[in-house]
Symmetry: C2
Amino acid sequence: MRMSELSRAAGVPVPTIKFYLREGLLPAGERTGATQAEYDEEHVARLRLIRALGTHAGLSLAATREILSAVDDPPESTHDLLGIAHRAVSPPADAAAEDQAAVRALLEADGWDLAAVDTAAIDAVAVAYRQLQESGVAFPDALIGTYLDAARTIAQAEVAHVPSTSTSTSTADAIAYVAVGVVLAEPLLVTLRRLAQQVESSRRFDARQAPASD
Amino acid sequence: MRMSELSRAAGVPVPTIKFYLREGLLPAGERTGATQAEYDEEHVARLRLIRALGTHAGLSLAATREILSAVDDPPESTHDLLGIAHRAVSPPADAAAEDQAAVRALLEADGWDLAAVDTAAIDAVAVAYRQLQESGVAFPDALIGTYLDAARTIAQAEVAHVPSTSTSTSTADAIAYVAVGVVLAEPLLVTLRRLAQQVESSRRFDARQAPASD
């Protein structure tokens, strides 16, 4: 297809496509004339992925490029790919040694095996946990326990659904699933939690929910 | 206590305290001289709350002010307070009517009672869900089901732990819990999910986790 058709198929404006081509995020089409090139379905899929990462997930150009490089030249292990996706989207967190130790102890007491995880991922939890505590608002241990269980349940389901990588097509699927899942499922979870809070608080606190009698 | 002592107690620099005073986020101390004022424990707690919202949760000055106004002049129902906290932290989402209808259908099929929730909260889910679909990456229905369950489990636990509001002290606690919980527990959940993904993917994919034989 021509660039104008590619633009319609992927829903991305032509100037934006040209920008991605110049930046090397989108591979060039097959040249068919001095000023023309042919694009195919892989270009459409690639544009969707770029848009998912850059526009929807709000990643920087550098972070988008980092994930796309991993997609193009995937590491041997899916676990390493996850690490690359995490590093691309996580701002480096600077946790105090004692906060990191506290979080390690909390998670290990809950049965988490932290042997093969990035220190950066533990640091990120440690910073978030410390900030919650510094707010001065009491969060009961039982609630923190619910967070730990929920995070584990979610991650187990996500990892269980990584497409198996027996063929090269399914490897590409697995890579896209991990890269996009890490960043794009997050807003879904966050917005679902807020909506669920409203459902629950209305059930518990809001007398107006009872049907008005007339 | 003097302003310098307040600064030490709350861990907030004096110029920042002066800024919060000028902006009206922190109530003035009790004047004890032409250039001196006395501050108390409530000022310390207030500074922690401002810092939690503004610095840690990264809220804008306007959003912080909106939540603090609700803390100072709380609505009658805790459910309304939650709505104020959500509106302060959620960028307005512009969902297409069909996406909103799709998400309503999905949630109602799962037993969610959406009668008393903000349309904005549904819109936010609809936008996140659409963006996940537009990525072109297949997310199995079973996984979406796990997200719904997890969001509900989390929200039920959070709402169950809202301090009861039988006294004015506990009303203030409930308000701080809701306002801070909405914004500050989110980074904890997001970072815990990423860490749990690493734990699970390592268990499933990473052969290197087996102890090296020597």
